[in-house]
Structure formats: structure tokens, C-alpha cells
């Protein structure tokens, strides 16, 4: 191993907890729908280029769509391709719909007869899948939420669940315009998430040399503000690694959040 590859290997080890998963996103065909409602199509993918489906599709088994009156609705024409998943929603009731892929899983690593083993699954299935006497056992809980919002007619207020990392939409996510500031707040387990780094990147990264990410930090109340430089779709990213896992007998936890937001021209 030469010095360079050793450096890379070290870097991989150092940053391993942050994981190198490609950016996860949902992309709606439109976010503002007239009062009579209609059909909206969504793509779901994991890719570093925003919003190009050129890496892998995002599994949407955990898809949940909430209507303005907090009822679940079912996606139609669900398809899983190699580079993207897609689905349609027929939305007729006026108000704002939350479209989310949210999950709460655990990842375990251990050794068996000197060989590394790993398992990822639901917290409830841990006991059945991880040997009780597993050597060098490391378990991490992952709470993640990938979401977007669509409004029929006039926007309505959104509710948070109090689980993991969530965005409080002080400015409505379907009321975003070029040149205007938008205010949001991050909550972790329902409480303000202060000093959290938030990265916001406009779509179309393939067509420019630099990602031109907007990086902001939340204040003491977990709040932050962003003024949109251009109209278009934006990807918002934040994550926290801590030792406050909510699964019994697990310490380490990663809470991650991604949203796709559409900003309109004036």
C-alpha cells in the first residue's frame, strides 16, 4: 500500500460513521396544483448529481403520504427502476401534502470467527438477527427522513411528529420565491436542534463547475433563514450523529433529514 492509498484508507475509516451514501431525494413533477387538484408524479433516487437519476433508485417501501387533514393516501403506478423509483399521487383535497420516505433502522457490525458480519433492519428484529454473544458488536440507530411537499390551492400548516430530525416550515415550503428569505427550524426528537449545519444545493449540478452550496448554521432555537438566489428545485441536507439512540441497548444514533423544495420566480 503506497502512501496515497493509505491516506485514502485512513480517511475512509475516519469518516465511516458519516457514510458515503449518495444524496437521497424525491422530485415532484410540480409543487403547486390548482384548486381542482390533479395528478403529480414523483421520482425517487439516490444520486450525487441533483436531480439526475444516474446512480441508483431509492427504495420507496417506507413511503408515506399525508393529506392536509392528516390522512394517509396510497401512491399509484408505483415502479422501481434501476436508476429511479416513481409513483403518482392523485390529490384532490385542497391544502398541503407531505410526501415522505422515513425510516428508523439499526445497523449492527460484529465479528464471527474473525470475520466481519453486518446486519441492517428494524429495531424490533435485532434480537433475532444479532447473536447474543457477538464479538466486537457495534450497533447504530439510523433515523432518516427524505421528503417534499405539494399544495393544492392554498397552503395549509404542516405538523411534525417529534421523531428524529425534522424541519419546521415557518415559511411554507410551497410559498418560496426567488430573492425572498425563507425561515425554517430544525427539531431533534421534537426539541430545537441548535448549531446544526444545513447545506442547501440547487438542482442542475451537472451544468455547473461548482456545487455552489449554501451552508448555514441553525441558531439557539434551531432556526435558520435562506434567501433563494434563483428559482428552481433545491435539495436541503442536515444530519446529526449523537449518542441518544431511542432503541434500547443502543447508544449511537444518526438522524438525517433531506427535503426537496421548489422556489418560484417572482
Amino acid at each position: 500500500m503506497n502512501k496515497t492509498s493509505m491516506g485514502i484508507a485512513l480517511a475512509l475509516v475516519t469518516f465511516a460513521p458519516a457514510s458515503f451514501a449518495a444524496r437521497a431525494w424525491l422530485l415532484p413533477s410540480q409543487t403547486i396544483v390548482a384548486r381542482s387538484g390533479g395528478w403529480v408524479t414523483f421520482d425517487a433516487a439516490n444520486s450525487d448529481d441533483l436531480f439526475s437519476f444516474n446512480q441508483g433508485s431509492m427504495p420507496i417501501d417506507a413511503l408515506s403520504v399525508t393529506t392536509p387533514d392528516q390522512q394517509p393516501i396510497t401512491a399509484q403506478n408505483v415502479a422501481k427502476g434501476r436508476t429511479r423509483s416513481s409513483f403518482d399521487l392523485e390529490i384532490r383535497v385542497p391544502g398541503t401534502y407531505r410526501v415522505a420516505v422515513a425510516g428508523d433502522t439499526v445497523m449492527a457490525r460484529w465479528e464471527e470467527e474473525g470475520k466481519p458480519k453486518r446486519w441492517r433492519g428494524m429495531p424490533a428484529d435485532m434480537a433475532a438477527n444479532i447473536p447474543a454473544n457477538a464479538a466486537k458488536l457495534e450497533v447504530e440507530q439510523t433515523q432518516r427522513r427524505v421528503e417534499t411537499f405539494v399544495t393544492v390551492g392554498a397552503p395549509t400548516a404542516l405538523k411534525t411528529s417529534g421523531v428524529g430530525l425534522e424541519l419546521v416550515t415557518t415559511t411554507h415550503p410551497n410559498d418560496l420565491y426567488k430573492g425572498e428569505p425563507a425561515k425554517f427550524q430544525f427539531l431533534l426528537d421534537g426539541k430545537p436542534a441548535p448549531d446544526l449545519e444545513v447545506e442547501i444545493i440547487a438542482g442542475g449540478t451537472r451544468y455547473r463547475d461548482s456545487p455552489e452550496a449554501i451552508v448555514v448554521k441553525t441558531d439557539k432555537q434551531g432556526a435558520f433563514s435562506v434567501t433563494w438566489p434563483q428559482a428552481g428545485y433545491y435539495w436541503l441536507d442536515a444530519a446529526i450523529d449523537d449518542e441518544n439512540a431511542t432503541v434500547p441497548n443502543v447508544k449511537k444514533r444518526r438522524a438525517a433529514y433531506n427535503a426537496t423544495l421548489e422556489v418560484l420566480p417572482q
Partner: protein, 169 residues
């Protein structure tokens, strides 16, 4: 009433009303455009408060044949400022799209919706958006109530031609 031309209604109101009643009139030109595929624009006309909220909707023209209300959000400013709260069709407000040419609209100061305007500064906004075309909005500021005869005009650059506001005390 939504299918009756607001111009016709305005003219009837003028003919029937007492002479000399204060009014706000609007001359608006939908320009002829040298394009291969032309569709009449959707147009929204409203009175705007200084904070850009809608003080009064004056007219909304869209394709009434079949359900084309799905394109109303393309009148972007009007939609965000209050179009999205409005149930269409609305009597005396919504109507069919208009052809290329000059259009005259007259609104009686003593009748709804202008009679409900509180004294203050406003702007008249005309927004037009055309299928496979562009979007444009123009504003003409004015003061309410009408104190003296006044005529202000602006020239649209793409989707609108000359737009003139006349206040008759």
C-alpha cells in the same frame, strides 16, 4: 354573469347609472404576436395593497371551454397573492379569454368591489400569461378615493401592450 362580457356589463352600468358617477377605467391592449402557435393569454387584473396582498379582484380571464382551471397557477403573482383562495368561476369576475386588440373595462367607484376600498395608496396590477408563451405583469400606482381626473399608462414589453388607468371623479 361570468359569460357576459364585463365590458358590456360596464357599459350597461354606465348607461343606467347617474351621469358623472366616479369610476376607474382601464384600457388594455393584448398585442398581436408573430408566433407560430398562438393562444389567447390568461389575464388577471386586481387592486394591490402596499404589502402586495389583493385589495380587490377586478377580472380573471381564462379558457372556459372544458376544465382549464389547472393552468390558473401560471398567473404566478395573482395565484400566490390570493388567486389560490378564490373559487372559480366567480360571478362578475371571471370570464373568457380575450382576443388581440384593445379592451376597455370600467368599474363604478360606488359599487363592489371598489366601494369597499379604504382610503389609501394602491396599485392596479395586470398580469398575463400565454400557453407556450411568456408571462408579464405591469403595475400602475394610484390613490383612493379619486380626487381628480387622472390618467396613467405603462407599456408592456412582451405579453401586454399599452395599459392605461383613468380615474374619473
Amino acid at each position: 354573469m361570468s359569460r357576459v362580457s364585463p365590458v358590456l356589463v360596464a357599459l350597461m352600468v354606465c348607461a343606467a347609472g347617474s351621469a358623472g358617477a366616479a369610476d376607474l377605467s382601464l384600457n388594455l391592449e393584448i398585442p398581436s404576436l408573430p408566433v407560430a402557435e398562438y393562444h389567447r393569454p390568461y389575464v388577471a387584473i386586481w387592486v394591490e395593497n402596499p404589502d402586495q396582498t389583493i385589495a380587490a379582484n377586478l377580472a380573471v380571464w381564462y379558457n372556459l371551454r372544458g376544465d382549464h382551471t389547472k393552468w390558473l397557477p401560471d398567473l404566478r403573482q395573482w395565484w400566490r397573492r390570493g388567486g389560490r383562495d378564490l373559487k372559480v368561476p366567480a360571478d362578475g369576475l371571471t370570464g373568457a379569454t380575450r382576443p388581440v386588440g384593445q379592451h376597455i373595462l370600467k368599474f363604478d367607484a360606488a359599487a363592489a368591489p371598489l366601494s369597499k376600498l379604504a382610503p389609501g395608496n394602491y396599485a392596479l396590477v395586470v398580469e398575463a400569461v400565454r400557453e407556450v408563451g411568456g408571462r408579464e405583469a405591469v403595475r400602475i400606482p394610484f390613490e383612493w378615493p379619486i380626487k381628480g381626473a387622472k390618467r396613467e399608462s405603462v407599456q408592456g414589453s412582451k405579453e401586454l401592450g399599452a395599459v392605461a388607468l383613468t380615474l374619473n371623479p
